[in-house]
């Protein structure tokens, strides 16, 4: 008799374990409030990315089209992938002294891994990470960007 008892017990346990799982999936089937997926392209406006999110490197400009980059190439040296290329020029100031300044800040988004090392390395806080993450384009060459706005110049007082 104990054999049959044991057999029935095994079958009971097996069936109840299966029913437990079905109860759980049944719960989620009937409770649509638990749904966690987002309707992504529709919720673009309400999408809230944290301010530290690393989307791409940008060179910040103020209203007067001034940036803080001195062209020191610290970011270029810090970058492990050669993502940043800085072309410098020598400006001559009023006193006749030559001074190194930024000419073009080239940023290869296609090479960037968003490791943030350039931002950490920047001594003047000129560059920062932007929250934009929709980078896809049809032509790879569009991913090579010039970060300094045309006609922009160095902010006063940034050394």
């Amino acid at each position: 008799m104990s054999f049959i008892k044991e057999y029935i017990r095994t079958v009971y346990r097996a069936v109840s374990s299966l029913l437990k799982g079905m109860k759980l999936t049944g719960y989620y089937f009937t409770h649509h409030k638990e749904i966690i997926t987002q309707n992504y392209p529709e919720n673009r406006d309400t999408l809230n990315l944290p301010e530290r999110f690393r989307g791409e490197v940008v060179l910040t400009h103020n209203e007067d089209n001034e940036h803080r980059c001195t062209g020191c190439t610290a970011c270029e040296l810090a970058c492990p992938n050669g993502t940043i290329k800085i072309i410098t020029q020598f400006d001559v100031n009023e006193e006749g002294k030559k001074k190194k300044a930024l000419n073009t800040f080239i940023y290869h988004l296609e090479l960037c891994t968003m490791c943030n090392l350039c931002i950490v390395a920047c001594p003047t806080d000129a560059i920062k990470m932007a929250q934009n993450f929709e980078h896809s384009v049809y032509d790879r060459s569009k991913l090579t960007k010039t970060l300094n706005a045309p006609g922009s110049k160095l902010m006063e007082g940034v050394e």
Binding site: R13, K20, G21, L49, P80, V120
Partner: protein
């Protein structure tokens, strides 16, 4: 090169599982010799995602090479970065501030939880249950959000730097983590209801893919794979780093060494991780989050080996320095590589379905194996 594989001379069937296959979790290629449904031999062919990270690191400076290691075991990238940071710090002889140590441990445990959650879902999928995968991602998503807020990225964070961490914690960090822990505790029982207790799941994993304690040591298995066989190998206990020495947690050990034991070890580890987070989250000391280090790091001539416990086992980072700005030679002892070498031993004599289940419980991450 994929050689001509067909029917071998003694009537066995040779099939290629992978490199593109739903259950190899990436680009693992297994050449399996079958006798009917029974596995006679499993031969892993590696290298489909070999990027020669070791060679790459030889040309990167000590600050730069850390980010590359996120790409090895991408599921526990924090812990990989931590291992590298440790090795560099050993050479630099810097003292890490208490706050940075606590942050590192917190991040490591959150990463471990996220990694185990993904493993749980992926393993269930290997065994044929698809729903758990999505349930696991719900909790993992919360960890990713926490990571995103503090570290700025969701998967390859690059948050650990030599001397500490890159930034201080986000002001909301403690609140969010507490919310997550509470939520996860309430959902953890669902994991058991959905999978652990399920009679089909137990039938599929018990007494399958058994590895003995001696074999586990000999094959160099570490992490949950070895602990399921009864090998005490938790680096956090054996060679405590950061603040692990001061924490109260148990090393989850099982004796059976089968797939179900490996499953239970990981489930137990998730509970231990939660308890570690509980102990630390209210006791983050004030202070610096980064020790002062020079802008250009140079390690003195010598050899530095650091060990950390990733979600998959023991990660060793072996740096040989000649005193320059870049490592002379760097070697990553990845846990998955050794665990994979035991797959043939475990899977022989089992069915194809079991092979897939065993691979699931080994928790292989292919970039970690190929590097």
């Amino acid at each position: 090169m994929i050689e001509e594989v067909g029917t071998s001379t003694d009537g066995d069937l040779i099939i290629n599982i992978g490199p593109q296959h739903p259950s190899t979790h990436g680009v693992l290629h297994l050449v399996v010799t079958l006798n009917g449904e029974t596995v006679k031999k499993v031969e892993p062919h590696l290298g489909y995602i070999h990027r020669s990270i070791e060679k790459m690191c030889e040309s990167l400076s000590y600050r730069q090479f850390i980010y590359v290691t996120s790409r090895m075991d991408y599921l526990s990238s924090h812990i990989n970065n931590l291992g590298c940071a440790h090795a560099v710090e050993k050479g630099l002889q810097v003292e890490i501030p208490e706050r940075a140590q606590v942050i590192r441990v917190l991040m490591s445990e959150l990463t471990r939880l996220a990694s185990h959650q993904l493993w749980w879902g992926a393993m269930a999928m290997d065994i044929g249950a698809i729903t758990p995968f999505f349930h696991a991602f719900r909790e993992r998503e919360m960890i990713n959000d926490i990571m995103e807020e503090t570290c700025g990225a969701r998967l390859t964070m690059n948050y650990m730097v030599p001397g500490g961490v890159m930034y201080d914690l986000h002001p909301d960090f403690q609140k969010k983590v507490k919310e997550f822990v509470q939520f996860f505790r309430s959902k953890f029982d669902e994991y058991d209801e959905l999978l652990t207790g399920n009679v089909i799941f137990q039938a599929r994993t018990k007494n399958v893919g058994i590895i003995s304690k001696e074999d586990a040591i000999s094959y160099g298995c570490t992490g949950p794979v070895a602990r399921a066989a009864g090998v005490s190998c938790d680096v956090r206990k054996l060679f405590p780093y950061d603040v692990y020495g001061k924490l109260q947690f148990d090393e989850v050990l099982m004796e059976a060494g089968d797939s179900f034991a490996r499953y239970q070890v990981r489930m137990g580890e998730m509970r231990q991780s939660l308890s570690i987070i509980d102990q630390l989250i209210d006791n983050i000391p004030e202070g610096e989050f980064q020790a002062k280090t020079k802008a250009v790091l140079k390690l003195p001539k010598g050899e530095y080996y650091s060990i950390v416990e990733t979600a998959r086992g023991e990660l060793g980072v072996y740096i040989i320095s000649e005193g320059g700005m870049t490592p002379y030679r760097i070697k990553f002892r990845s846990p998955g590589f050794s665990n994979l070498s035991a797959l043939d031993h475990m899977a022989r004599g089992s069915k194809i379905g079991d092979l897939v289940a065993i691979m699931g419980t080994l928790d292989l991450v292919i970039p970690d194996i190929d590097r």
